[in-house]
Every structure is written in C-alpha cells, then in structure tokens.
C-alpha cells in the first residue's frame, strides 16, 4: 500500500490545525512579580499570586511620589504628584514586560515574567 492523496490531505489538515492553535496560543511567559523602581533603583517587589487582596504600594523618589495599587496580578497607578498623570491614565497592566512609567518623578513599575512550571512527570 502506498501513500494516497487522502493521506496528504489529512496530514495537511492536521498541520494547519496545529499552526492555527499555535497562532492563538497564550503567551509562553506568565507574570511573576511587579518591580518598582525609583531613580533607577529597585525599591520594592510584589509577587504576583500572593496579592489577591489589594495591596497599596507607595513609591518615593527624589522628585515625587506615586501610589500604586496591586490586585489580582495587575498593577495601576492610583495617584501621583506629577503634572500630566500619564501613569494614572495608563490603567491596569498585567502582562509580563508591561510597565507603568512616571517620567517626571523617575518612578516606574515593571512586570517580570518567568517560564511556565517545569515538567514534573516524564512520559514513557
């Protein structure tokens, strides 16, 4: 028996399905912790997942203050004494790599990511 056209068609369908799933697959990295920087120094870390209750984080720099709120793995700038309040208007951020930046106060919060959990069982 040799390979038939239906075989090729079937293989093509499965490959297309695989690529379609790959296109819509979620991000590989998940959020790990939110790091707060003031004047380019790391001043505070909040682990994502340990903050299901709301946590207020007040960050001070030489230029001014920003109040952040961390909740359910998301972070938001609640109030700031900067002139434009761009940080407050950027809303909730939750994906790894996203940041909230208050340029005038030289304060920013960035969400770091880690690789998903390692394999815990080998299939044989």
């Amino acid at each position: 028996m040799t390979i038939s056209k239906t075989d090729v068609l079937l293989i093509a369908i499965i490959v297309i399905m695989a690529l379609a799933v790959a296109a819509f697959a979620p991000a590989k990295y998940r959020a790990d912790e939110i790091r707060f920087f003031a004047d380019d120094h790391l001043v505070k870390c909040v682990k994502v997942g340990q903050d299901s209750i709301m946590v207020r984080v007040k960050i001070k720099s030489a230029e001014g203050d920003v109040d952040f709120i961390v909740q359910n793995g998301r972070v938001r700038a609640q109030s700031a004494d900067c002139p434009n309040h761009i940080c407050m208007r950027s809303g909730w951020r939750e994906s790894p790599g996203e940041a909230i930046i208050c340029a005038p106060n030289r304060i920013y919060a960035i969400i770091t990511g880690v690789e998903p959990e390692k394999v815990d069982a080998m299939l044989r």
């Binding site: 390979i3 038939s4 239906t6 293989i11 490959v15 799933v21 697959a25 044989r124």
Partner: protein
C-alpha cells in the same frame, strides 16, 4: 525461533486462540515491548515533553491487520503493562498516561482502519492514531496539573504526531507489502 517459523505457526490457527496464534501474538508483544523500551531511552522525549517515536505502534498496526482488532488490543495492553514493568513505572502517573493514550489511540486506530481503509494508507491511519494518542495525553496532563497553560504544547504535539506517525505509517506500508505473501489478513 526464526521469523519464518513464527510466521508459519502464526498462520496455523486463524481465528481461534490456538497455540500458533498465541505464539504469533507473543512475538508481536515482545517486539513492541522492545520498541517501547528502546524509544523510552531516546533523548527526544526530554526535549519536548510527550514527544516520542511511536515505534511500538508499528507492531500494534501489524497485529490489527493480520490478527484483527481484539488481538491488537491484547498486544497494546501487553505492551503498556510489560513496558511499564520493564521501565519500573507500573501503576504510576506515566503508566496512566501511557494506558489512556494507548486505549484512545486504539479506538481511533480501529475506526480509521475500518472506515478509512479505502481512502487512507497506513500513513494516514497512523497519523490519526498518533494525534489521538498525543492529544489524550495532553488532556490528561491538563487534568492532572489543573492548568490550561499546558495547552500551548498542542502544536508541537500535533506536528510531532504527523512527523512520527508518517514514519511509522510508512514502515507499516513497507512491511505489509512484503508480509502479505506470508500472512493472511485477519
């Protein structure tokens, strides 16, 4: 025992569970356990979790062709249990994965063989069975871990099922072309 003797014995009792049939099936069980252990020693499984050759599937398909579906189930179960005994994973989590994957892929294999035989060669049947096997293991892994994140492995598992399923299917195509002169189809 030489291969010709085994095949001659296997031919003796066609449908009944006679001694020739038992010996013939034992040879296939032994061969598929060997393939199972051999591929568990290969490194590809540790690069992407769950990816493997499926060499044992060659023997399962051959048994399905020449001895029929019940015999194929016996060989598959024998391979899963025997392979787990050899690997030392009997009744552990990998055994559960192996068993469920084998059973679901057995059902898909039978269906594809009965329904798709006219249009599909063993490459297509093997690819379908391999995809079913990999997806089943993925669903069980998702249930065990309780996380949807593992679903990002779907593309890799499907593509590997296509790749390795094509290889094993081609092997079965080649083997049946030669073996059919010795063995009647079950």
């Amino acid at each position: 025992m030489s291969q010709e003797t085994a095949l001659a014995l296997a031919r003796m009792d066609d449908k009944k569970l006679g001694s020739g049939r038992i010996i013939g099936l034992s040879v296939f069980v032994a061969a598929s356990i060997t393939a199972h252990i051999l591929e568990s020693q290969l490194v590809i499984g540790s690069v992407v979790p769950g990816v493997k050759f499926g060499l044992a599937n060659i023997f399962a398909m051959l048994v399905l062709i020449y001895y029929g579906p019940p015999a194929a189930l016996i060989v598959i179960l024998g391979r899963v249990i025997g392979g787990a005994l050899m690997n030392g994973t009997l009744l552990q989590l990998p055994f559960l994965f192996s068993l469920c994957g084998a059973l679901v892929s057995y059902v898909v294999l039978i269906l594809a063989y009965k329904i798709g035989k006219i249009h599909l060669s063993f490459v297509g049947i093997s690819v379908l069975a391999a995809s079913a096997h990999n997806l089943t293991q993925l669903f069980i892994a998702a249930a065990v871990i309780g996380s949807m994140a593992i679903w990002s492995l779907i593309p890799a598992l499907l593509l590997s099922a296509v790749f390795f399923g094509s290889i094993t299917g081609t092997a079965v195509n080649l083997v049946t072309a030669r073996l059919s002169t010795y063995l009647p189809r079950g």
